[in-house]
């Protein structure tokens, strides 16, 4: 009887310890998860800022201005445009 109790006591202690470790593990993982989620939010914000930047730099108005003013480009007159037929296009 005593031996059974001792075994049970050992099992109990082992269970308790494993509960403690798994609880600790869970919290540690949770901290990590939160950190990653915060990073994801940060990336989300950064993505927003970058796509804003992309849109701002790539706005047709700006592209046209640079093409005209610093690259001295101009639209060709219709008479200087050669239209090439491509068989695949209807």
């Amino acid at each position: 009887m005593t031996r059974v109790n001792v075994v049970l006591l050992c099992v109990l202690v082992a269970c308790a310890l494993s509960l403690v470790t798994s609880r600790h593990q869970a919290r540690r993982l949770n901290v990590e998860l939160e950190r990653e989620q915060a990073r994801a939010r940060q990336f989300d914000v950064e993505y927003g800022q970058l796509s804003l930047e992309q849109s701002t730099w790539g706005m047709p108005a700006r592209v046209a201005k640079i093409a005209r003013e610093s690259l001295k480009m101009q639209l060709p007159a219709a008479s200087r445009v050669e239209i090439v037929e491509t068989p695949s296009v209807k």
Binding site: R27, S51, S55, G58, P60, A61, S79, V81, V89
Partner: protein, 577 residues
């Protein structure tokens, strides 16, 4: 002192005097009772207080931010986007900065220490030191360690398109809520609601456990418009140039995909920059193409002709006597800008004869004409989902007098908005089907509603093509490499009840005629540069926008590139209304 000798002795059994034992036992017992009592007290009587104190130490309700959805064009390029910013604020009586710190802060914020201290010394308790800074700038300012300087997280909405897309997108006001345009109309779709959740934190402030979600956050959703940024810019640029060239008061330009009814570009002038709109007049914020109406003038004539063709009253080659360009109905007389002899129905459109259109209209019951106009979408709002779009005015036919029926045939006595007008032309572009117009991206071909027969639609389209060829009212609308079809409008404006000498010049057309892909409608309000005819004011705008748009979309040409034939200036047919 223990000596080895002493350890060998077994000490005699100790026996405490009874009184001492009792005393010790009683004292220990009393301690136990006290402890028990205290614990019961804490458990029952002070439970709430302790629970709340405990929770305050490890439990936190944290806000989960939700930003507003983006508005993008049909290719996913951002037209409106929210990004986090920080504002710096102080309580004026709590701020404590050394002159040195103030100088550093001024350098970070790119201002002067004088300005900063004047901001800190004004009236009232609360003051913003700097608003809507980039987060990095605000962090650098806070890193100076100034006592009493606080931050506040906000979102700021940016509009990369600026004035080009201003009236379509609108803008948001306080608290990131839509105030104008699509931002207002789609508030529930775009707007995010921040949530909150309860968590357990450890001593370092890390979140160790998620307890419960108090409010689930609702992130704002992205919204894709049907607008094509490149075409939008093109339309805007050409419209702006035309308004300036003609010294006009305002203007509008719509580009519609003839197959799907999607609005690819919607430009307005005057405009404003939504990123800096402190002192912008409300006037400039209106999306005139949808919220303002005008009397369309001759751009209505094709619908009159279509109604008569459908009713079988005329054929494209029927001859109409234009009575030398004057027709008197009751006390009023209708004039043609150009006197002509008998005209065929095709020539009525080509040369834009008011008398011809009026005579055709008078041969129809008013019901028939009304039904045609109504089915083409006039008199009902185009249902784009844009706030404040108007229906225009189309009176019920029972109230029409003969003279009114005659003037309505060429677009006077009723009013439309530009989008309605452009959309109505899908009937001629799509073999008789009226397409629903959309500001939001749709996929694939859209089913339209058949209004007129294929035969009628093609006949009218042919007449519209004649109008852009030499002998018509709008040779300036021709595009190299593409066959175009369209109709000019030169309508006098009404002020009060009188027609004035102010004009609205317009042009609505489609291309390529062999299989129309795009419809472009241009409206120039009060051109005062000397010229006011639809053909010469709005025609060239149509030509440059249509030409560039078709090339940009890679639409195959359906005419040789040397197809543009401009008659001598004095030979161009000019028309009024």
């Amino acid at each position: 002192m223990r000596t080895p000798a002493a350890q060998k002795h077994v000490p005699p059994p100790a026996e405490l005097p009874g009184v001492r034992a009792l005393l010790v036992f009683g004292a220990v017992g009393l301690l136990f009772v006290t402890l028990l009592g205290r614990s019961l007290w804490l458990q029952w009587m002070e439970n709430d207080f302790l629970q709340s104190q405990g929770a305050a130490r490890f439990s936190r309700a944290i806000e989960v931010p939700a930003h507003r959805g983006r508005i993008v064009d049909r290719f996913g390029d951002a037209l409106a986007i929210s990004t986090p910013v920080k504002s710096l604020w102080v309580f004026r009586d709590k701020i404590d900065a050394t002159p040195e710190q103030l100088r550093n802060l001024a350098r970070v914020l790119e201002t002067t220490p004088q300005q900063l201290s004047s901001r800190m010394k004004g009236e009232g308790e609360f003051a913003f030191i700097a608003r809507q800074l980039a987060p990095e700038t605000a962090d650098r300012a806070l890193a100076l360690g100034i006592q009493g300087l606080n931050e506040q997280n906000e979102y700021r909405r940016y509009y990369p398109g600026g004035e080009v897309t201003a009236q379509v997108i609108g803008f948001t006001g306080d608290k990131d809520a839509g105030q104008e345009g699509i931002e207002l109309a789609q508030q529930t779709w775009l707007g995010g609601t921040p949530g909150s959740r309860r968590v357990i934190i450890n001593r370092r402030g890390d979140i160790v456990e998620d307890v419960a979600s108090i409010h689930a956050p609702q992130a704002g959703r992205d919204l894709a418009l049907s607008v094509d940024s490149r075409l939008q810019y093109l339309a805007f640029r050409e419209l702006q140039a035309a308004v300036e060239r003609n010294k006009a008061k305002a203007g509008g330009l719509v580009v519609i995909d003839a197959k799907s009814g999607e609005i690819l570009a919607l430009a307005n002038w005057p405009t404003y920059n939504p990123n800096r709109r402190d002192k912008v007049a409300r006037e400039k914020m209106r999306n005139r193409a949808l919220t303002d109406t005008f009397e369309p003038g001759s751009t209505m004539k094709p619908f009159t002709i279509a109604a008569a063709l459908e009713a079988g009253k005329i054929r494209p080659d029927s001859v109409i006597h234009t009575e030398g360009g004057e027709l008197t109905i009751g006390k009023q007389t209708i004039h043609d800008a150009h006197r002509a002899g008998p005209l065929t129905v095709e020539q009525v459109i080509q040369k834009s004869s008011n008398v011809g259109a009026a005579k055709i209209a008078l041969s129809l019951p008013s019901e028939t004409l009304w039904r045609m106009f109504s089915e083409a979408g006039f008199g009902t709002a185009p249902k784009t989902g844009f706030p404040g779009e108007v229906a225009g005015r189309l009176r019920p036919p029972a109230t029409w007098k003969p003279i009114e029926q005659a003037t309505m045939s060429y677009g006077h006595g009723l009013s439309v908005n530009l989008v309605q007008l452009a959309r109505a032309y899908t009937i001629f572009a799509d073999d008789g089907e009226l397409k629903p117009v959309a500001l939001f991206k749709t996929d694939g071909a859209v089913a339209g509603r058949p209004i007129v027969s294929v035969k009628t639609a093609r006949a009218v389209r042919h007449m519209l093509e004649l109008a852009t060829l030499p002998g018509g009212t709008a040779p300036q609308a021709q595009v190299a490499g593409y066959r175009v079809a369209g109709k000019t409008g030169t309508a006098r404006k009404i002020e009060g009840r009188e027609y004035t000498r102010k004009y609205v010049a317009s042009f609505v057309g489609m291309a390529p005629v062999s299989d129309p892909r795009l419809i472009v409608a241009v409206m120039i309000d009060e051109p005062s540069g000397g010229d006011y005819y639809g053909g010469s004011v709005a025609g060239p705008v149509f030509s440059s926008v249509m030409g560039a748009a078709l090339r940009m979309l890679g639409v195959p040409t359906d005419a040789p590139v040397d197809n543009v034939v401009l008659p001598r200036p004095e030979a161009i047919v000019q028309e009024e209304t």
